[in-house]
Symmetry: C2
C-alpha cells in the first residue's frame, strides 16, 4: 500500500499564531474559543473527512498583549471530553505541560479521556513556553531547560507506569467465584525519582488503547531527545523544505539510535494552507492576511514572547539589539538564541531585528487546490513529515480544504477514505503497548 | 410559594458506600463506573425528572481492599464535561480535593466546565479523606487537619479571585473601534498567602453563572467553618432526624454569624432510599442488602478507612480496641474520634467495636413510595435538610424513585415540575456573584 499522509486539525477558536486580527473577520464567531459547539462542529467536519486527530494547544499564562486565541480558552481535557461524546473515530490530542502538573493527576485525566472516547486520547507533552506560567504556580522563576526537560521525561515515565497499574484482565467480575478484582493484577508503582515520588496505583483501568498516545512539541536538543525517548507523535514547527527534512531525519535517527522503531514516531508538521481559485489569488490572499497583522507594536509584543513575555518596548528601537540571551534560555531557547546570534552578527538594531524575523513568508501550502495537494505530496515524498497539523482561519477554510484538497490526496492513494480503526493508535498504525506487568521480566 | 426540596443524584457506577457486593446484581453493568454512557443515561433520567444536579464524588487513592466503585473510576471533570454536552438543565457538581491540586488548574477546569455546560458547574471542595493520597503526590504523610483546612479556605479564595479575572464585559469585540479585549477589564490577582502564591490572571472569561457554585463536604469543626465561609451547598452525611437537624441549625447559625444569608447555603443530605411495594417489603429488602455485605473481613477493611486505610487485621480481634486516635487525626477525625471514645468508655474489643459501628441501621427513607415521600417531607419540614443527595443501587431504583416518589412531592408542591433556569445557580435560587472588580471598593 502507498504510504499514507496523516492529518490533524489544530483548532484555535479565534485565529492562531500571527492572526491577531482574525477576530474581525465576520465569519469568525467572537467567542469561538470558548464555544464548545464550535469545537464539536470542527471535529465532526474533520471526522467526516477522516482526519486522524483533533489537536488542542494550550497555555497557562496571559497578559493583555496576548493574541485573542490565548486570552479566553477552554481547558483542553474538558474540551476534548465534550468532543469525545459527539464523535466516534477522530483522535483527541490535548496539550498539557509536564512542568506545572502532577503525574498522578495527568495520568488520571488522560486515562479518563481515553475511556470516555473509547480509545482516542493523546497527550501532547510540552514544558511551557511562557515563563510567566511559573507565577501562576507559586514559583517566581520559570524552571530552566534542564529541569523542565528532566521533569518531562520522568513525568511521562511515571504517567505510563500509572497507566499500567491494572493488567488488562484485572477485573474478572466473576459472580460464581465472587471475584470482582483479581488483586494480583493491581500493581502499585513505588516510583522515587529526582523530580517525583509517586506510590500508585492509579484508580482507573487500561482502555482499549492500552495507553493514550504520547505527542511532544519542542525543538531544542533536549526536546528532540525527549521525543526520541517517549514520543509516538510530534507537533513540529513548519519551515523550509530543507529545514523540515533535516529535522525529520534527525528525529528518526535519534529514535532508531535508542532502539525504537522510527515508524512509531510520527512527525506532524504545523501548516496553515492558504487556498484560492488560482495560485495568484491565493498568494494575494496570503499577503493580505499578513498585512492585516503587520502592526509594529503588536509584533514587538509577539517577539517578546520568545523571550518569556519580555517587554522590548522599554528599549530604544534604533539602538543595537539588547542582550536578552538569558531570557531566551528560560523560555524558547532555540528561536531566541538564533535571534540573538543573528542580531549580533549582522549588527542589527532592535527594530531591524524584529522586522527581519517577522518578514513576509507565505506558507508553502499556498495556491489553488491542486498546487496545495501537489506540494503536500512532494514534501511528504521528500521526507519532510509523516503528517500535517493543519490550522485554518475559519470553518469555511477547513471546509474548502476538505472539499477540494482531501479528495486529490485520496485519489492519489495518499489519504484514507475510511478509518482503519476506532482508536487513535489503530488509525496511526501505532502498536498497543503491552502492560509492563505481563511482559517477560527481562523486557521491563 | 411552598419552600421547595432540592434533589441531587449521586452517581457511582458500581454501588456506593457499604455496597461492596452490588456488582453481583445482574442489573448492574460491571464496568458502569467507567462507562460514560451509563452516566449520561443517569443524568438524562434525572434531568427529565427535574433534579437539580448530578453529583460526582471522588478519591485519589486505592488499594485492592477498596470497594468496587473506588477501584475504577472516571476523573470527575472529564466525566462531567461529557455529560454537559448531552444535557441542558441539570447541574454538574464535581468533587475535587483542595489538598493536592493547584488553584490555577482547578479554577481553569471548573471555569471551562462552566462554559461548556453554559452555566451548570459546581465544585465540591474536599480535603481528601484517604491518607494514602499524599503518597501519590510526593508526600510521605497526609497533611494534618489544620493545614488541609487552611489550604482549603485559601484555595477557594484564590480560585474565586481567578474566576473574576475578566469583568463580564471585558470583550467588546468591537470591529469599528478595533478593540477585541478592553485591557482595563482584565485583572491579575497577585495573591500571596500562607499556602499559595498565584499571580493570575486566569485565561478564561466569566460564564453565565459568574462563578461555579461552591459545595463542601466535611463535618469537623474546621469543615463546618469552611462551609460557613465559602460554601453555597453542602453534601452532608445522613444520620438520625435529631443529628441532622442539629447539624443543619449549626451550619445556618455559623453562616449567619459571618454575615451571610443562611438561605444561600443549601444542605444536601446523603440518602439511599429503599423503596418497595409495601413498607414491610422495603424493610425486608433493606435487611437483605445489609446481609449481602455483612462480611467481617470486609467490614474490618472499611473500618480501617476511617483511620487512613489503617490495617486493623494486624491486631487481635478480641483484645481491647487499639490506640489509633492519631490515625483518625490525619484522616476523618470526627468519626474516628467517636469510635475511639466509645470503645474506651464501653471497654470494647476490636471485634465488638467494629460490630457496634457497623450494625444494621436502615435508611430513614425505607418504605413504599408514600412512606418515603412522607418521610422526606416531614424531615424537610423539621429542618433536617434543604435537599437530598440521592444514591441508588441501580438505574431501575432511580427510575422507581422518579416514577413513584417524585410525583408525590410535586403534587404536594414540594418539588418543581419545570426548571426555573438554565443555570445551576438559577435553579438553586443562588445569586450570581458580582465580579469583585465592579463592586464598590468598600465591599471588595
Ligand atoms: C510546534 C510547537 C508547538 C508548541 N505548542 C505548545 C503549546 O501548545 N503549549 C505550550 O505551553 N508550549 C508549546 N510549545 C513549547 C514547548 O513545549 C517548549 O516549552 C518550548 O518550545 C521551548 O522548548 P524548545 O526550545 O525545546 O522548543 C510548542 C513548541 C513547538 C515547537
Ligand atoms: C458526606 C461527605 C462526603 C465526602 N465526600 C468526599 C469525597 O468524595 N472525596 C474525598 O476525598 N473526601 C470526601 N469527604 C471527606 C472530607 O473532605 C474530609 O476530608 C473528611 O471528611 C475529613 O474531614 P471532616 O472531619 O471535616 O469530615 C466527604 C466527607 C463527607 C462528610
Amino acid at each position: 500500500m502507498t504510504r499514507q499522509i496523516r492529518l490533524a486539525l489544530r483548532a484555535y477558536g479565534v485565529g492562531g499564531p500571527g492572526q491577531h486580527s482574525l477576530w474581525k473577520d465576520p465569519r469568525v464567531p467572537k467567542n469561538a474559543s470558548i464555544d464548545i459547539d464550535w469545537y464539536i462542529a470542527q471535529a465532526k467536519a474533520a471526522e467526516h473527512a477522516k482526519f486522524d486527530a483533533l489537536f488542542i494547544v494550550d497555555s497557562q499564562f496571559i497578559d493583555a498583549t496576548y493574541p485573542p486565541h490565548y486570552l479566553n480558552r477552554l481547558e483542553p481535557l474538558t474540551l476534548l471530553s465534550a468532543v469525545a461524546v459527539h464523535t466516534r473515530h477522530i483522535g483527541l490530542v490535548g496539550t498539557l505541560s509536564s512542568t506545572y502538573n502532577s503525574p498522578f493527576n495527568v495520568a488520571r485525566r488522560f486515562a479518563s479521556l481515553d475511556h470516555i472516547s473509547r480509545g482516542r486520547a493523546g497527550w501532547n507533552v510540552v514544558t511551557s513556553f511562557d515563563t510567566g506560567t511559573s507565577r501562576n504556580y507559586g514559583l517566581d522563576e520559570h524552571l530552566d531547560y534542564a529541569t523542565r526537560y528532566g521533569r518531562a521525561l520522568e513525568h511521562v515515565t511515571v504517567v505510563r507506569g500509572l497507566w499500567d497499574s491494572y493488567e488488562d484482565d484485572a477485573f474478572p467480575a466473576d459472580v460464581a467465584r465472587d471475584v470482582f478484582l483479581d488483586p494480583a493484577k493491581l500493581h502499585p508503582l513505588h516510583h522515587e525519582g529526582e523530580h517525583f515520588k509517586v506510590a500508585g496505583p492509579l484508580n482507573i483501568s487500561r482502555s482499549p488503547q492500552g495507553q493514550p498516545v504520547i505527542f511532544q512539541a519542542g525543538v531544542s536538543e533536549e526536546g528532540r531527545n525527549l521525543a526520541a525517548h517517549v514520543a509516538e507523535g510530534i507537533y513540529a514547527p513548519g519551515g523550509t523544505l530543507e529545514s523540515t527534512r533535516d529535522y525529520y531525519a534527525d528525529i528518526k535517527r535519534r529514535t532508531a539510535a535508542l532502539g525504537r522503531d522510527p515508524d512509531h514516531i510520527l512527525i506532524f508538521l504545523g501548516a496553515q494552507p492558504v487556498i484560492a481559485g488560482t495560485d495568484a489569488e491565493a498568494h494575494r490572499l496570503s499577503r493580505e492576511i499578513f498585512d492585516a497583522d503587520n502592526d509594529f507594536p503588536r509584533k514587538l509584543a509577539a517577539f517578546g514572547r520568545a523571550f518569556g513575555a519580555y517587554d522590548f518596548s522599554q528599549h530604544d528601537l534604533d539602538a543595537p539589539f539588547p542582550d536578552v540571551a538569558a531570557h531566551a534560555e528560560r523560555s524558547g531557547r532555540t528561536r531566541g538564541t538564533e535571534i540573538v546570534r543573528r542580531a549580533r552578527e549582522d549588527g542589527l538594531t532592535l527594530r531591524e531585528t524584529v522586522l527581519a524575523f517577522t518578514e513576509y513568508r507565505p506558507s508553502p501550502f499556498t495556491g489553488d487546490p491542486r498546487t496545495v495537494a501537489d506540494t503536500i505530496e512532494s514534501w511528504f515524498g521528500a521526507g519532510a513529515f509523516d503528517g500535517l497539523n493543519l490550522g485554518f482561519r475559519t470553518h469555511e477554510d477547513l471546509d474548502r480544504f476538505i472539499a477540494d484538497v482531501v479528495p486529490l490526496l485520496q485519489a492519489r492513494g495518499r489519504f484514507r477514505t475510511e478509518y482503519e480503526s476506532d482508536t487513535l493508535r489503530g488509525n496511526l498504525g501505532l502498536p498497543v503497548p503491552q502492560n509492563r506487568w505481563t511482559r517477560a521480566e527481562a523486557l521491563r
